[in-house]
Amino acid sequence: MAHVADESPKLFGIVAEFDDPDVLIEAATKTRVAGYRKFDAYSPMPVHGLAEAMHFEDVRIPWMAFFGGITGCCLGLGFQTWIALIDYPMNVGGKPLFTWPQFIPITFEATVLVTGLTTFVSQFALNGLPKPYNPMFNAKNFDRASQDRFFLCIETRDPKFDEASVTEFLQGLGALDVSEVPA
């Protein structure tokens, strides 16, 4: 965001804890409807419908994978063609120099390899991982976010953020517990 508060806030956000994924989806929907924008939900497994509830959408990974695939394909085919026709022409089995059927397997493997590497790297890059320190680790009970509990955190960055009203709002969502997350 363009304007950041001059002094770094001591608070990262307010977090609510749930024990049911369906309640979390409902809470995320209500949070969005209430006008909050800088919030995130945390769960120990992918919860389908949660991203939709948060109106979160990102199509960059499939596109990156697609272009990675095209790059790999061109590299694989181009490289073999260049070797066979230009750099080191060699007659093998009386076949023409441009033996395209025999180039298909390596072209395919190159396509898959580059697609896979692109996908893997872009997943981490876009998620901002690896990130050994995260303020969310300070949240109460957060070690259960990777086990059996579901969390929803409204961050102080949110333009509508106000400690008292956010706490009250989250308490109204059926949370087990609402607590502060120190930055």
Binding site: A51, G116, Y133, S146
Partner: protein
């Protein structure tokens, strides 16, 4: 007949099965599965198996050392059998690996929820099996310290690897397969490593898992991209696994040696790989179920039933391949093809061929019996027999064709040496050792996918189900 009563009581067979037995919550799943890893005292069997694996692993090291110091002449390979156990074992191991990718990628794309509890373990098998497999061609080059020549890099000789050769295709296929399998495996592990990080008590252990978890926090936005990436990797792994064994089959099929040159080879090799791989999943999965009885709720009899069905289906494809090989050999009327048919049925290695037909063709037909598909001792025996059968298949293809060349003057007989045996048995030790080490440090069952499955079960069967409920409107 009372139609209405049938209506509700019998319809259950059509609704998705519940693949988690017993009463479980997100808490118990995390506890049980992470507990297998974090338990400070592994069962005694674990020590025995790991120790045994370690001892046999040393046989492999010995065999490799002796081979590197002496040369590939220590093996039984000699003209006309330039390819022998090294390639047999290479194909056998890499085939075993394929079940892991099939389970993790193809069954994921087909939304088969039963895969969730066996994929992690099978993926680990893939990686270890590919490591065992890769060893053979690398050693077979004769000068393994120059193996980097296999990769295209700008060198002072101004030469490139011959990319028209199926052996070079293998280099690309196997290295791509290993890389992608490793990435896919690691990506799948991250959320579970985060669970281990959050559950472990010892600061050093926490620190190691913390680093390996890449700071995973389970954010919904992260999950969204994570699933996109996971599905794309699954999507490319599915054709990749097919391509790998297809290319392995091309090693043979693009040549014109009778018994090698046949167009059914690609799908028949792929099916054979999956067949052997599922057998290996059972060979290790069944003992694991008894060593760690707490995972029986997650690897249920329904899973065993499914695996037996897949074994039956892939076994039938392989058997179809055997029948077609013989039929078209006979049908072709080609002298050399006919000689091959004769050689398989009546030649010096005929017992290998008959044993192959029994192990892969006849014996697995017992899986048609539903009771046997859930019978643990039977499945264990079956898995061993299939493993042997698939090894025999490669033996039948390779030395049997090579010892009967087009010219009778180049006929021969092949027998392995003790170093062939040592390396083969040694790689088994390597595999066992790695597998048990893996069980100790990482969860054998994908924890987050089991939670996901539990959530789906809640939607499907309702909370507090007894496992046999109807799907009628439970949300």
């Amino acid at each position: 007949m009372a139609i209405n009563s049938i209506d509700s009581s019998k319809r259950t067979r059509l609704v998705p099965q519940n693949f988690i037995d017993g009463e479980h919550s997100y808490t118990t799943i995390s506890e049980i599965l992470a507990g297998v890893v974090l338990n400070p005292k592994p069962p005694t069997v674990w020590f025995v198996a790991t120790g045994l694996g370690f001892c046999v692993l040393n046989v492999m090291l010995l065999a490799v050392t002796y081979l590197v110091l002496t040369g590939t002449g220590v093996w039984g390979n000699n003209q006309p059998t330039a390819w022998a156990w090294d390639i047999v074992n290479f194909v056998w191991w890499i085939g075993i690996g394929h079940a892991g990718t099939l389970i993790s990628a193809i069954l994921l794309l087909m939304r088969q929820s039963w895969r969730n509890s066996i994929n992690r373990f099978a993926e680990a098998m893939t990686i270890f099996a590919v490591m065992c497999a890769g060893l053979y061609p690398l050693l077979h080059t004769g000068r393994p310290w120059l193996d980097y020549w296999l990769f295209p890099y700008a060198n002072t000789l101004g030469m490139w690897p011959q990319t028209r050769s199926p052996l070079e295709w293998d280099v690309f296929a196997v290295s791509t397969y290993f890389t992608i399998s490793l990435l896919f495996w690691f990506l799948g592990l991250i959320p579970d490593i985060a669970t281990l990080r959050d559950r472990s008590q010892h600061p050093l252990v926490k620190c190691i898992y913390g680093l390996a978890s890449m700071g995973w926090i389970g954010s919904a936005k992260h999950w969204f991209r994570y699933e996109q990436a996971y599905n794309i990797l699954a999507g490319i792994s599915a054709p990749l696994v097919l391509s790998v064994h297809t290319i392995v089959s091309f090693d043979f099929a693009v040549g014109i040696v009778p018994g090698w040159h046949t167009t059914i080879f690609p799908p028949y090799f792929v099916a054979g790989a999956v067949f052997a791989g599922f057998a290996m999943v059972l060979t290790f999965g069944l003992p694991l179920r008894s060593v760690y009885p707490q995972i029986k709720d997650f690897i249920t009899e329904k899973h065993l039933d499914w695996m037996a069905k897949i074994l039956l289906a892939t076994g039938l494809i392989v058997f179809y391949g055997y029948i077609l090989e013989m039929f078209y050999g006979w049908y072709s009327g080609n002298t050399y093809e006919l000689a091959l048919v004769y050689n398989r049925l009546f030649g010096p290695y005929k017992w290998f061929y008959y044993a192959l037909i029994f192990c892969n063709g006849i014996f697995p037909q017992l899986c048609w019996v539903p009771q046997l598909r859930r019978n643990v001792p039977f499945l264990f025996v079956l898995s061993i027999i299939v493993g042997i059968g698939m090894w025999l298949e490669r033996f039948v293809i390779i030395p049997m064709s090579l010892t009967r060349d087009f010219l009778t003057s180049s006929w021969g007989y092949y027998a392995p040496t003790e170093w062939d045996w040592a390396l083969f048995i040694g790689t088994m030790g390597f595999f066992v050792f790695l597998l048990f080490m893996f069980i100790k440090v990482l969860p054998i069952i994908n924890i987050f996918e089991m939670r996901d499955l539990l959530m789906k079960n809640h939607h499907q069967f309702g909370h507090g189900h007894d496992g046999h409920e109807n799907s009628e409107e439970a949300h």
